[in-house]
Symmetry: C2
Subunit: 230 residues, 2 copies
Amino acid sequence: MRVVVPFAAETPKTRLESVLTPAERSAFARAMLADVLRAVVEAGHEPTVVSTAPLDLAGLELPGEVAASASVTADDRPLTEAVNARLPGGDAETTTDEPAPVAVVMADLALATPDALERLLTSTADVAVAPGRGSGTNALVVRHPEFRVDYHGTSYLDHRETAREIGATLETVDSFRLATDVDEPADLVEVIVHGRESNRAPACLREFGFALDERDGRVDIVRNEDCAAE
Amino acid sequence: MRVVVPFAAETPKTRLESVLTPAERSAFARAMLADVLRAVVEAGHEPTVVSTAPLDLAGLELPGEVAASASVTADDRPLTEAVNARLPGGDAETTTDEPAPVAVVMADLALATPDALERLLTSTADVAVAPGRGSGTNALVVRHPEFRVDYHGTSYLDHRETAREIGATLETVDSFRLATDVDEPADLVEVIVHGRESNRAPACLREFGFALDERDGRVDIVRNEDCAAE
């Protein structure tokens, strides 16, 4: 299945600015993107990065089989428009055959595994959604040619409503791994605890000096300041 | 399967004190407990509430079939001790037969559904864990007679390590519903978005005047102050 992975190349992960410098945020965002692309390829699918600015995939140093299956295209439109153009029946659809299903997986799902993605990608519903916290839509598969996304606000609830309006069946996929988009400092704990051992993003955080910190029974992250950038 | 549901009856949900009065926190905690008990019974299992103080289940006004399957026992020991006593081979085990598997499901898993619980409860691993955010352990099933819990700090990582030490197989169950324990004001959004329609906890929040609030593309809860207690 074609899997679209939207990526904000220019100002990634601004909500991490209290703990990471701009250069670190960029490196960390690219590490998460590389991990997501690898999970998609290991699940047997072909990812297309839709980047807000030109992006050199070679710079991600992807493993060979991942690099061979992944492609990139630049689209400076807002997220919702860029995704809708690529859904079945959208403007950027290049085939004239029966529209093929399209998946959309966010680039900051650092906990994504092939198993978790498969649970989403094997759904036979017209629309399958993996919600994120706060009524977000972290990943979805669209088979219905009339369905369009709107990522603003309570997108999970809005996508349910849209499916109902066009008579499309909708399945909600119950996955903690796909529900965890990495936006805020507290989310870094999840990357360290649940990131796959061979993944780039947890390695990147450890390289930056982050470690788990237990205090009063609550778990947070702490940084060795020797590793912090100036 | 016997399912232990630990419940802090006296000072429930203190981290919600910025948005709920003590009486509201108590009512909301009981509503979540009732929802969890119903989900356990609908999944075909018998819940035992292990309460820090005497608790009258009749006060929960459970549906008939739920009330018929649920029981309650008081145990004022700390969570970890009270749970360990009830695991296979623990002090409070009453049978002399082969130890039967025991599940432990937290009382604040307001998003739990029979389907999500079944994915956990049908695991054949010696230990199956549904992690919560921050390396917590929200629900688990124990079949191995030597396994003991420790809920302090990074319990999910610690439980993995314990399983390794005693040579027990461990499965991690990937569920957003089971990963969402309701501790903090931001978690109330999830109860309103994902709580089952027939559940008590979302109805309780709506009765208190809570609704979703979209601002700057972020989703939060807002309260109609006419509904707030004095």
